[in-house]
Amino acid sequence: MSLALAPGRRRLPVNFRIGAALVALVVGAALLSVVWTPHPPAAMNIPGKFAPASFEHWLGTDQLGRDLVSQLMAAAANSMAVALVAVLIGGSLGVLLGVSAAALGGWWEDVAMRLADLGFAFPALLFAILLAAALGPSLTNAVLAIAFINIPVFARVSRAAAHQVWTQDYVMAARAAGLGRFAITRDHVLPNIAAPVIVQATIEFAVAILAEAALSYLGLGAQPPAQSWGRMLAEAQTLIYLAPQLAIWPGLCIMAAVIGFGLLGDALRDMTDPRLSRER
């Protein structure tokens, strides 16, 4: 849906607005949870367990009487933190491989891209399993696993974009003026590949949220007492006959976050690179 920005009446595309709203909601809840939640997320109240939604507990309470909304907010903060760190680590390493491959070429380009491709052989789940078996399951290992699978993605995107910059006239001019490969990469390549890299990062953020949820559900991510949407679903599954409502909300949160970042990424891509905005 390429809503061309008509002159005079600049309206943001629909997917941008929906995506931005969902992202604002989830990120807002996550940030707010750091300073305020309706109740302390871990506060137990056994007599008040499985309470229905009320003014006191907006979405009710779980099997230990903990407030569901507070837990969902705390989980949002964990999920955002994991996604942010994983995408930052994977993105920086990937971009480093990508731009150095484009700048140096030759055997290093082959080696760098082969190294990056290694990430494609290990889905995040397999890598997380390796780390969990060797070092024990932890949120740190989940972050590393998600970061690892991000490396090849960013390496490819940044190499392709960097190659395009290297063919530009102003880079020729800079080389003729005696600027080295490192300086050109720093001054010309990096600023010019920022847009596609940021777009990719937004999309990978959504992927990372999904991966973290799955890893935590399987017990390879957030460990108690840290709260996570995936872990909440794992607990809810054991109570599915008793309190089916507990299995609904964490899943909806995951979906909202993933759709939000996904739509935002798509919209940013369409807006920053009109050539890529295909018929959708």
């Binding site: 082969r114 491709d117 290694l118 494609f120 052989a121 290990f122 889905p123 789940l125 397999l126 399993i129 390796l130 780390l131 969990a132 078996a133 060797a134 070092l135 399951p137 959504a206 999904l210 949820a213 799955a214 559900y217 399987l218 017990g219 390879l220 995936g230 679903l233 809810a236 599954q237 599915i240 006959y241 089916p244 299995a247 609904i248 964490p250 899943g251 995951i254 979906m255 993933v258 759709i259 996904g262 739509l263 295909r278 018929e279 959708r280």
Partner: protein, 314 residues
């Protein structure tokens, strides 16, 4: 085709070699002392020494790597530390579950995605198109394990049509099939969301070409043109994604087996992690990585078979 295949095969071997190095290093170098990881911190020194001897941990790492690879190539993955039987036997016992689940999910994914994608393309810009695109947007964002829980909630807890999990064994084919319906549906619904979009967009691209219009002008029905003329020409991008999706289905099966307590390789991996059974985890991760790498390799080959123009460029 010859040189192309040879080059791809060399790349495949290089990747497999690198993968085996990563898996070996993760399981043998990262933990420091694997014997300590397996037996726990309070294990007596004699037990540790006995296990080190049994696993060959006193040999230098490169030699252990070669021993492992040489054994694995002959189907010998060592002894499982928790089950006390050869890992290869455990794998053979649980492989059918995972293969059947992955293949049935892949088949259902293909059927669903082709139906939805072609339907959306045929109704381009219509309500049907928007409906499919909306569903696929939802599907892409839905974790398969959550969808599984929702399906269990509806079909097992509320309607009581299907079992909520577990596996009765292959002796009773009907009961086995019933136990596999929800796992297959959960995997296929999520996976087909991505594929349906690819089918739709490559169909739209192929529909724009002249021969599609010519076929319509020659009096062929709309349906016949779509399925017999447009679809085959839209296959190249679809095949690429199908290969990647196969990897997604296989790792998805690991998750889904744990959601539904199905006794396959994915369940075995998690039991082995809980039991700190490093040799079994090492063998299984390697096995799954090989499946993923092989799937990517076969896609490249299939790609070149479908479109000979691509051979020179790969």
């Amino acid at each position: 085709m010859g040189p192309f295949l040879l080059r791809r095969a060399a790349g495949l071997l290089a990747t497999l070699f690198a993968v085996s190095l990563v898996v070996f290093a993760a399981m043998n170098i990262l933990p420091g002392d694997p014997a300590l990881t397996i037996l726990g911190l309070d294990a007596p020194e004699e037990a540790l020494e006995a296990l080190r001897l049994q696993l060959g941990l006193n040999e230098p790492a490169p030699q252990r790597y070669l021993t492992w690879v040489w054994g694995a190539l002959q189907g010998d993955f060592g002894m499982s530390q928790s089950f006390g039987v050869p890992v290869s036997g455990l794998i053979a016992e649980r492989l059918p579950m995972t293969v059947v689940l992955a293949l049935s999910a892949m088949g259902a994914t293909l059927i669903l995605a082709l139906l939805m994608g072609v339907f959306a393309a045929a109704n381009h810009r219509g309500p049907g198109d928007w409906g499919v695109m909306f569903l696929s947007q939802i599907g892409v964002a839905t974790p398969a394990f959550w969808l599984s829980i929702l399906l269990v909630l509806l079909f097992a807890v509320t309607l009581r049509w299907l079992p909520p999990g577990g596996f009765p064994g292959w002796e009773d084919p009907l009961a086995a099939a019933r136990a596999l319906v929800l796992p297959t549906a959960a995997l296929a619904l999520v996976q087909s969301a991505v594929l349906a979009r690819v089918v739709r967009s490559s169909m739209l691209e192929a529909m724009r070409l002249d021969y599609a219009r010519t076929a319509r002008a020659a009096g062929l029905s709309r349906r016949r043109v779509l399925w017999r003329h447009v679809l085959p020409n839209a296959l190249v991008p679809i095949v690429t994604i199908v290969g990647m999706q196969f990897a997604g289905v296989v790792t998805g099966a690991i998750v889904i087996e744990n959601v539904f307590y199905l006794p396959g390789l994915g369940r075995l991996i998690f039991q082995s992690i809980a039991n700190r059974d490093l040799p079994t985890v090492q063998a299984l991760v390697m096995l799954f990585a090989v499946i993923v790498v092989m799937a990517n390799f076969l896609v490249d080959v299939a790609y070149a078979l479908i479109d000979p123009r691509l051979r020179g460029r790969m």
